[in-house]
Subunit: 143 residues, 3 copies
């Protein structure tokens, strides 16, 4: 087992709600560190953003996901008590989740044909961060 | 630490929306590889399916989960732009999640008394896959 | 790589729906076991509870999350078939998730400034459990 320092990536978002494809950046870290096999845990250290795997072929799927989330969790509700006007972003973060764990095999992220890793901004625009932790099994023979 | 090749399982779904208990298959891989202690990450490489832990005692809990998800995320919404008619499946996949990480202890998946691992089909019927990655701590003494 | 036995924590909840900050307990386990670097997987072995990262600064964010979940998934729906009256708790558990994977770096949980780990009771009050699995990279030099 080889160990790797925690890496941190910066994501600049442009609008209040936005999905940003970060797959290539994560793959680049895997490749630069010559990781053959293991896991990568990608963590969002924010409570008004999330991370998810989603289709990367048709951008309309992102549109539809964002619209459905807005319809289920609007920015204003009579019962919200948090006074920053971003309670919806906190809820969306809890629903979508704050981290993904992806398998690494033969030096590549194991993703489906249409899957990409999306940082989900729910209260932007902001400068955000992603922590990337690689668990590296080494390059020995696998059972 | 022992390393194991990535395993892939096939799941055949029969209807558009269906929960399939895959616990026994994952346990079988753990047992066949004589894994005593570690983690298993089970990944769905699809963007219109998911995976979750849920109760296995009363099938009505599956019925109620499926119905509630359909009520929150119907197949048709006036604002959907993706033209394959499965935007709801993409959203449900993001909400339920595309992977689970389960602890292995004394050769067994660590699950609650009523917990099982369910593959969640949201746009079937289809032939689907599950990737299973074992992180094996070996069988040495634990601190 | 050092290996650690699976730890189990008890959480006593006081009301039907409640978020309990368990961050300090998990950090205590990390510190007591002198873990410098790795992952911790925190698992809820229950199907009517969940675990999530959420803001710990303003308790109103917890209020708003709980209220929004109750509004999306009320305790009573005409179509629920499970006869224990807690179908909503099963659904909330699936939406929020049953485990979190957190990075450990320099002996500390890697969390954002406002992030804490919350056990989410959806069908209390009950005595609940949390399984805590540490994946310890050891204290060698990191690449």
């Amino acid at each position: 087992m080889r160990t790797h320092k925690l890496k941190t990536e910066t994501v600049e978002t442009k609008t209040r709600v936005q999905m940003v494809d970060v797959t290539a950046r994560i793959q680049k870290l895997i490749s630069a560190n010559r990781v053959e096999s293991g896991l990568v845990v990608v963590v969002v250290p924010h409570t008004t953003a999330g991370i998810t795997l989603q289709e990367n072929a048709d951008p309309n799927t992102q549109h539809d996901l964002i619209k459905k989330l807005e319809s289920l969790v609007p920015q204003v509700e009579s019962y919200y008590q948090h006074d920053e006007g971003n309670s919806d972003a906190h809820v969306k973060s809890a629903l979508v989740g704050s981290s993904v764990t992806i398998v690494i095999d033969k030096g590549r992220l194991v993703l489906g044909k249409w899957q990409a890793v999306y940082f989900c901004e729910f209260d932007g625009p902001r400068e955000r961060h992603l922590h990337v932790k690689i668990i590296d099994e080494g390059s020995g023979d696998l059972d």
